[in-house]
Amino acid sequence: MAIDDRPGITIPNRIEDLPTSQARFIGRTVDRVEDPMLLTGRAEFIDNLSFPGMLHCAILRSPHAHARVVSIDIAEASRAPGVLAVLTGEDCQRWSQPTPTVPEGWGTYCLATDKVRFVGEPVVAIAATNRYLAEDALELITVEYEELPPIVDATKAADANAPLVFEDKGSNVMLQRVFTWGDVDGAFAAAAHVFTETFRWHRLGANPIETFGVISQWDPIENALTCHGSFQSQYHMALARSIVLGLPSNKVRLMSQPHGGSFGGKGGARGTDITALLSRKIGGRPVKWIEDRMEYLAGGSSQSWDRHYEASLALDANGTVTGFKVKLLDDLGATAEGWGAVSAAKPLAAFTGCYAIPVAQYDLTIVATNKLPGSPYRGMGPPPHNFVLESLMDIAARELGIDPADLRRRNYIPKDQFPYTIASGNEYDSGDYDLALDTVLEMSDYQKLRAEQAAARAEGRLLGIGLVNTIEPGVFDWNAYAIVGQPGTGVPEGATVSIDVFGKINVKVGFSLEGQGQYTVLTQVLADYFGVELTDVRVVPCDTLSAPPHFGPGGSRLGVSITGAALGAADLLRQKLIKVAAGLLQTEPANVELMDGKLQITGVPGAEIPLAQVAGAMIARSDLLPPGVDPNAEATYAWTATGRTPADDQGRAKSYLTAANACHVVLVEVDRETGHVEILKYFIADDCGTRLNPANVEGMTQGGVAQGVGAALLEEYCYNEDGQLLTSTFMDYLLPSVYEVPMTEKKALVTPSPFTPLGAKGVGEGAMHTTPAAILCAINDAVAHLGVRATAVPASPHRLWTLLQDAKPGG
């Protein structure tokens, strides 16, 4: 079976359909091609690069959450040792535009102009001969501020007397709309049971171990800009720089270096603009800025999902869920610059989770406050949404006396109903949710866990079991974010595949290393396609001006997309090679096939030519080529998901192409006296279709569990009422260590996607979607009989202790 995206292109939907008698690499765990470079410390992370004449940037940041900038005195700093340039908001007003945002019109210049809107906002930037001197010079700058009352509490942001983050907007409400899918009022009126609860998800964020970094060089003669940086999506960053810096788009060249993780939270727009303008100001010397950790925590793309929820679930007398309503107040912080708002839109791609809930409603309000602007983070919004939905499922199960596993099973989308369109408009490609549930129940010996829980409770110990299943929407599409003002449908990802005269294969792409192992996947696909060894394939990252169309990693998309791009390009190349081979073999192209690295006449043993010889003829023997044959042994293909639809007036669209699913079971113990939670056991069954490299998937899953543990128990950005960040170091913002993250038992299920290259589904965010909900459900399972309910993330010991103070005596 093949997926024919376009006439004349064949992209196989199954590994078996590759032009090889036996796939040797794809679908198997192989050593990653990225690893030797990373293990020996040779990867060119941005801070490892240095250019002649390069200067180093340091940034002075606002100490106030909200203040008018009265005056800035840079005279002394300008004379400080090593300082070559000082950039202020005035330069930015002269040379640039406020950054584009979603929703539109909530952006600022890269340095503060009239006022500062959050603690950590850049105010002045310095370029000096080294970072030490640059930081010394920052101390010589005097900024006079007139403090304004800040708005910190999102629940008061829409009040009539609230201080305004943007005065010209007249309100702090960035977006307010109710999306209704079906007769929600009717469903709730007719429901036998309605369960309502409020939930709070506190700010947390990505925190890759490498922060953002960039080296910018302005060409004052050509009026062009070149930047090397840890850009997650270099192309979109380049387009935005073109707009902000007023340069023709083909005069902006960005090159993404390998980066030390991103998880959506790499950011870098401000740093890129600041260094670009500093370089412009000093006539074109390259300027490097490496965001330090405290800058990242207070002023980087570090914070996401500051959310207040009220949600309701309607059920009939049989425990069938008949409706789901979510009211979300999303605190996006001071601006909409970081694409954080799309996190409020993404839940539409899987609003009702694994369940066949016919109607639903989303009452969405996004407000501005005087905190750091929100950014994307792994999962992009569903992690809090799933925490809400799955918590309500548990509340319903508990109140109705139904086992949480049984209630879920009753409401699953049956496996024979795929593709299935959910109430919020997206289509799920395939799935078998009963299988995932059965698998994890068996792995965990669920009934035995229940017995263990009962025995512990008899001893006065609080054990709880969390059972949670979620959908991971994969292969994102811009149309998924239409409700917050993001335009577009389709996200092309390209690859250019070529074969040289020695039969070696190069593939050019527009993204760099980030950790997911995509170069390995590309290598596996092409090695099997062309019947060569892994070492015969080389992935070549290209900059924004030389790469085929690209977006890069994000939205659980790249593994599927780049596989599609590679297979499309390989197919185009195969067709060229066949024409040439037919000429060389003196037969018709229809008789020639590519198989196991050779071009051969179908059914005629021995009538074959090796790949290298065909490519060699194309490059060096035009005399042998049939007339009209393209001598370029190279082909480019940009893959994008087909069948995507623009959003309707209620935001409904066929958006994310794939729906992976997972079911987690976790056993926790809550210390009743201290509120401390320990994870005792953890089981995962997950299904992401064909696994292109099983070890990659397993690694992403376990990594997602770790971040989920952080979200559930440890990580939180705390601001005080003045808008000061209280968790500004890694001593207070707590990333989980090996002691906090459970070693999990995992089982892989495979329900291939009927719509994708090789049947693979987008994967990488699933555990982050699931783990926080699973741990919170487990905590509530442990404490519910005491008459209390944990509804806030993270469930810190202090929070749980406070909750347990209200516990029923003797419970």
């Binding site: 330090d292 440890l714 001593m731 002691y739 010991p797």
Partner: protein, 292 residues
């Protein structure tokens, strides 16, 4: 996050250190392992004009079993304490305390003396020093003196060392026979400073009666805190749950307003102190009975 400029000197004798401290007064800062000082420098929260690196002074790095105590040179790395056979065999409480400090990568640099002189109220070594009535030897312009732990910790990050005095040795008494001990901490993450911590020792006589009780609460006030009233409640009893509960209530109730921060309110810390004290006393008593 680059440190501000400072001068640096690495003297090779204690008198030189004292002279430098006299010369620079409060502008100078002693650099031992740097595990607390260096982050503060990188954040530009500490701004000494000169760092006096005491790592080059011979003979400040030793662990000596003496009569009834272990004497440790101030520059002895925490990791050396951890790995010393003498410590494991003769002072298991010191070993266990050391293993509660951060991570091996910090203990390889961090020193016992540096931790005690830094006097972080949530740190383990100051708590242990107070628990055991350790003696701190310091050298200053007027020569050497010995300061007992009770007199040493004044308030948050402040000791009774004079501006020109340098800590040279810490003597930690061994535990008496039939003594059990316990360390209880609640941390949000392994290796972090505790939200609250308790160290206890209980000594029982042959009949199971408590002859000595020592109890220190840390991470809950401006210094580690000796819970003397609670200790007194245990002495002369055959301690069991009733006594542990009562002593724990006393120890936590006696606290002045505990610290309050983003991770734990004062009220929560006080309650943690109660819970951890009760657990520490129970474990120490059980161990004492086992040790008998």
């Amino acid at each position: 996050m680059k440190p501000p400029p400072f001068e640096y000197t690495a003297p090779t004798s204690i008198p030189e250190v004292v002279a430098l401290l006299q010369e620079h007064d409060f502008e100078a800062k002693i650099l031992a392992g740097g595990q607390s000082l260096m982050p503060l420098l990188n954040m530009r929260l500490a701004r000494p004009s000169i760092l006096i690196d005491v790592a080059r002074i011979p003979d400040l790095d030793y662990i000596r079993a003496t009569d009834g105590s272990i004497a440790i040179g101030a520059m002895t790395r925490q990791r050396s304490v951890e790995l010393a056979d003498t410590v494991r065999t003769s002072h298991p409480l010191l070993y266990a305390t050391t293993m509660h400090i951060a991570h091996p990568q910090n203990r390889n640099q961090g020193t016992l003396g540096g931790s005690i002189a830094h006097a972080d109220p949530a740190a383990e070594y100051p708590a242990l020093a107070l628990l055991l009535d350790a003696e701190m030897r310091a050298v200053g312009p007027d020569g050497e003196r010995t300061i007992t732990a009770t007199d040493f910790f004044i308030t948050y990050l402040t000791t009774s060392l004079e501006a020109a005095e340098v800590l040279t040795e810490v003597r930690l008494p061994l535990l008496p026979p039939r003594t059990g001990w316990s360390i209880q901490e609640l941390t949000r993450r392994h290796g972090d400073y505790a939200l609250a911590g308790v160290m206890a020792t209980i000594t029982l006589d042959g009949g199971g009666q408590c002859t000595e009780a020592r109890l220190v609460l840390f991470g809950v006030g401006a210094t580690p805190i000796r819970a003397s009233n609670a200790e007194q409640m245990l002495i002369g009893t055959k301690p069991g749950q009733t006594e542990f509960v009562a002593a724990a209530a006393k120890a936590s109730g006696d606290l002045d307003e505990p610290l309050s921060d983003v991770h734990a309110s004062a009220e929560y810390r006080r309650d943690l102190a109660r819970v951890l004290t009760r657990r520490a006393l129970a474990e120490a008593t059980a161990n004492a009975a086992g040790a008998a």
